[in-house]
């Protein structure tokens, strides 16, 4: 019992409950002192939730070391957490590998929750007419599905980046380990607050939260805004760490173009999430203020401008989608050479393409607003900039197939998912230009075609690469491999079904099916398509369930995999699995190119005290 309450997570949640109550009580008190009616739900609950989040962080211990530093006390540089065993994972750990795994587990949990929401409303959609959900229940589930999945993606990429970046560059840990722990733990109360919206009346705006609708939505809307604002800090503070780590802590002789290619992806991603994330926070906070204080930013009657919200919101949310996919595209570039046994084709071009996508990605946000009535002279430039993103993206695709060409390809499960990523992301990318050219977008905007397009890009750019990364690095994390047969089952359950699902989404969208609707006219003839889509959804869920079972079983009793089972040249595979506590007991220096597979006698890294010998 005492051990249960010693877990950071448990203490955090208890403190959060306490903090929420305190916050609510505080607002009631202030209102009484100001002579107002004591109870007004919205300000009380919003402040309570905010205070609850802060208290969670106090309870879990994320502030402890910083508090000590502020008080002038000594704080140890490194902490030996090995005595804690599995408890490490439930509290503040300074080890980036532990934090990476914490992110991974949280990401899979959120993905499952978001997925279950989808299964529920997809069941409702399988037949026209409303079968068991009310309109507001549908809208809330659909909106939460979107945002919970988005948060799961941000958490999932944090998992991959936090686990692998220090390993790939030869660092002992991230530049700011405590900041790293804080960045993880703030995502937990943020997620809880986001999910609490379901129990506070829900909300009906979709994940985009446009005013004026979001101004008049129920209380759940505020929990949505607050939850996302808090989750934004995970992104922002995480990027500070990634950028500082990559700039400062690389191994000797690891020059820019001798870094593993994934590092370029991580940098490009972090540049975006460091800067643009603030804008979604701002846009949501302004709506929160409109609701709480009557500030008419987006109220035309007061002189406000609803379109301003869309500009602020999409200025982040478009680059955000590149945050979602750049790490995954980096994973594809990282893993193909290992399984094709061949050099990554055009390394420098691929590295630059990640930066290119990130930079151009800042200039295209208006393409989400082509039908909003925004200033006419802006529409065409945004069309040009949007189409331009295709070029660096194309560079990646051509590089990938050129890497495979004349390789010696093998097909373990990580490779299967890497290949699926390419196929699915290709479909997502190719279905983009019709959205970019304004005239065609006028037909496609707000239809299921868009839903199909972004599911393709997100599955291809995040979901499948995430699976690939987990199958690939699981041995590094645990010293065991994931079961290959279950992995293949997972693959064959999710891949064809997802492909069909996205094609059907685009089909009904082109024919007139709008998005975000709880029900549709049977006269449109979409019933069969929707039934098929729902079945595909359940197949995908089954695949993910197999994956989760595989994870749990293999962590305990999977086939031991202590060595370089993939025969990778990357530094982390030159040391035993699971990864030693401080990563590299002997430092290494870079003596060759990262992807010179097929060049006899070439080595990438050499460890201290190692004899110069041929690489197998």
């Amino acid at each position: 019992m005492k051990k249960f309450f010693s877990l950071g997570l448990v203490r955090g949640i208890l403190w959060q409950i306490f903090g929420t109550a305190l916050g609510i009580g505080f607002i009631v008190l202030v209102r009484i002192l100001m002579g107002l009616p004591a109870w007004k739900a919205e300000p009380a609950v919003v402040f309570g939730a905010l205070l609850g989040a802060i208290f969670f962080l106090i309870g879990v211990g994320a502030f402890t070391d910083w508090y000590k530093m502020a008080m002038g006390e000594e704080v140890p540089e490194e902490v030996d957490e090995s005595s804690l065993g599995w408890r490490r994972y439930f509290g503040v750990s300074l080890d980036h590998k532990v934090i990476g795994i914490q992110y991974m587990v949280l990401g899979i949990i959120l993905m499952s929750i978001g997925g279950i929401f989808a299964l529920i409303f997809r069941t409702e959609l399988a037949e026209s007419g409303m079968q068991f959900l009310t309109m507001i229940e549908y809208n809330t589930l659909m909106s939460l599905h979107g945002m919970v999945m988005i948060v799961s993606i941000l958490v999932g990429i944090a998992a991959i980046m936090n686990y692998t970046v220090p390993l790939l560059i030869g660092a002992r840990d991230m530049a700011f380990p405590r900041l790293n722990a804080f960045s993880f733990w703030i995502a937990v109360p943020a997620g809880l607050i986001l999910l609490s919206s379901m129990f506070l009346g829900g909300f009906d705006t979709g994940w985009t939260g446009y005013p004026p609708l979001s101004v008049r939505a129920p209380l759940g809307m505020q929990m949505f805004f607050l939850g996302v604002s808090l989750a934004g800090f995970t992104s922002i503070l995480g990027s500070v760490n990634i950028i500082a780590t990559v700039i400062r802590l690389r191994a000797r002789n690891m020059t820019a173009f001798r870094m593993p290619i994934f590092i370029w992806a991580a940098i490009a991603t972090s540049i975006i999430s460091l800067t643009a994330t603030q804008l979604i926070g701002l846009s949501f906070e302004l709506v929160m203020f409109q609701r709480l204080f009557g500030m008419g930013f987006f109220d035309p009657v007061a002189g406000g401008n609803p379109i301003l919200f869309q500009h602020l919101f999409w200025f982040y949310s478009h680059p955000a989608v590149y945050v979602f996919v750049l790490p995954g595209l980096g994973i594809i570039s990282e893993l193909l050479p290992v399984f094709a046994r061949k050099s990554l084709f055009g390394y420098k071009w691929v590295a630059m393409s990640s930066l290119g996508i990130a930079l151009v990605g800042f200039l295209v946000w208006g393409h989400h607003m082509f039908t909003s009535g925004m200033a006419e002279y802006l529409r065409v430039p945004f069309m040009y900039s949007t189409l331009l993103v295709a070029i660096p993206t194309g560079v990646k695709f051509f590089s990938w197939v050129a890497t495979l060409w004349k390789g010696k390809i093998i097909y373990p499960v990580p490779m299967l998912f890497t290949l699926a990523s390419i196929v699915v992301f290709l479909l997502g990318g190719l279905t983009g230009p019709p959205n970019a050219t304004i005239a065609t977008d006028l037909h496609l905007q707000d239809t299921y075609y868009i839903v199909g397009h972004f599911h393709d890009t997100l599955f291809g750019g995040f979901m499948f690469p995430f699976f690939a990364a987990v199958y690939f690095w699981f041995p590094k994390m645990t010293g065991r491999r994931l079961n290959e047969n279950l992995g293949k089952l997972h693959f064959w359950l999710v891949t064809p079904s997802f492909f069909i699902l996205s094609l059907l989404m685009m089909r009904v969208g082109l024919l007139g099916m709008r998005r975000r609707i709880a029900d549709y006219d049977p006269a449109l003839g979409f019933d069969n398509y929707h039934l098929m889509m729902t079945i595909c959804g359940f197949l995908i869920a089954a695949g993910v369930l197999v994956f989760i079972i595989n994870l749990i079983r293999s962590a305990k009793s999977g086939e031991p995999a202590p060595g370089n089972i993939w025969n990778s040249r990357s530094p982390e595979w030159q040391v035993p699995s699971p990864m030693p506590v401080h990563n590299y007991d002997k430092e290494f220096e870079v003596v060759g190119e990262p992807y010179d597979y097929g060049l006899p006698g070439s080595t990438y890294v050499r460890f201290e005290g190692e004899e110069h010998h041929d690489q197998p």
């Binding site: 009657v301 909003s372 189409l387």
Partner: protein, 333 residues
């Protein structure tokens, strides 16, 4: 060399198959407007491009996966090829040219669909949660159905009374949002007579899925007849006229006649009774109150109902029309 020839043939075949497949299954609804014709041509270009690029990447990829796989017992790594600047430049430059060309086509088609016909029919569209309302200023009529003469451009000036909505008839292709506080313009030239549905295409609250209305594209003669009918059924009797106006302007979307609770207060038994306002005071619901409430709804907010939802009708209805509506409400017991 052999590889390249085989791949090239496969790419051509695959492109052909994908393109004919996609165009055969009928991806889009019928083309019922001039704008649709322009837009579908651009779609066609996109589909051709998608067919080619998908085939190019997929054929090379799957060819490699089969031909360059490691066979049983084979050792060693793949060929040592790190890159090729010429190839990189080529596959950067050619996509760039294609993209600029596509953008040009996009700009051209945008210009085409936005052509202004000075003799266009003017219709003002107002949407709210969850209704469509049309006014024909040239004819002084209002309706909740959109009647359009075929082969004539209609200029829709659109705004919203509350949240953002979006006007979309898939057969016409084009759509435009309705934003409170601003007027967005959309021009459509319908080409095929028939009845269509306009459905709101921007999530606007609980009943977004059901926010639909009728669009009737008819011959000019039929349209003229409809206009005359709307104009002439301006009835002399104020109560009946009020009833007609109530129907035309969609008042009962928010105000019930049978006592049931909707967005606004019910009209059943309203006239002649005391009404409690949101500041606690009470007021008599007499003619003056009814007329004020229509012209400036935010003057008196009834307790339990939201402010800033009902539009100000003082710019939409004239005094006689408002008095007729008040007379009609009076008649409801």
């Amino acid at each position: 060399m052999k590889h390249f020839i085989v791949v090239a043939i496969l790419v051509i075949v695959c492109t052909f198959l994908v393109y004919t497949g996609l165009t055969a299954i009928g991806l889009l609804p019928i083309q019922a407007s001039e704008q649709a014709i322009v837009i579908d041509e651009l779609f066609d270009v996109h589909i051709a491009l998608i067919s080619f690029l998908f085939s190019l990447i997929m054929v090379i990829m799957f060819y490699s996966l089969v031909v360059f796989r490691r066979r049983k017992g084979e050792l060693g790594d793949g060929a040592f090829i790190k890159g090729n600047s010429g190839l990189e430049i080529t596959w950067t430059l050619i996509p760039f040219i294609i993209v600029v060309f596509l953008a040009y086509l996009g700009a051209y088609s945008l210009g085409e669909i936005r052509r202004i016909d000075l003799t266009a029919l003017q219709v003002n569209v107002t949407a709210g949660q969850w209704y469509w309302q049309y006014q024909y200023p040239e004819y002084g009529i209002a309706s909740t159905d959109l009647y359009l003469p075929v082969d004539r451009q209609v200029s829709l000036d659109m705004t919203s009374n509350d949240v953002i909505h979006s006007f979309w008839v898939p057969e016409f292709r084009v759509k435009m949002d309705l934003v409170p506080g601003q007027v967005n313009n959309l021009r459509i030239t319908p080409t095929i007579t028939g009845s269509y549905k306009v459905r709101c295409a921007e999530l606007c609250g609980a009943s977004h899925a059901y926010m639909e209305g009728n669009v009737f594209v008819v011959e000019q003669s039929e349209f003229d007849a409809w206009v005359s009918e709307q104009q002439s059924t301006v009835v002399i009797d104020p109560v009946l006229r009020g009833q007609q106006l109530v129907q035309q302007y969609g008042c009962t979307t928010c105000h019930s006649l049978d006592g049931s609770s909707k967005i606004g207060p019910t009209w059943k038994n309203l006239f002649g009774h005391q009404v409690t306002l949101d500041d606690g005071s009470t007021i008599m619901a007499d003619s003056e109150y009814l007329i004020q409430s229509i012209l400036e709804p935010n003057l008196h907010i009834v307790e339990g109902f939201p402010a800033n939802v009902m539009p100000d009708f003082k710019d939409i209805l004239d005094q006689t029309q408002v008095e007729s509506i008040a007379a009609y409400i009076e008649s409801l017991k």
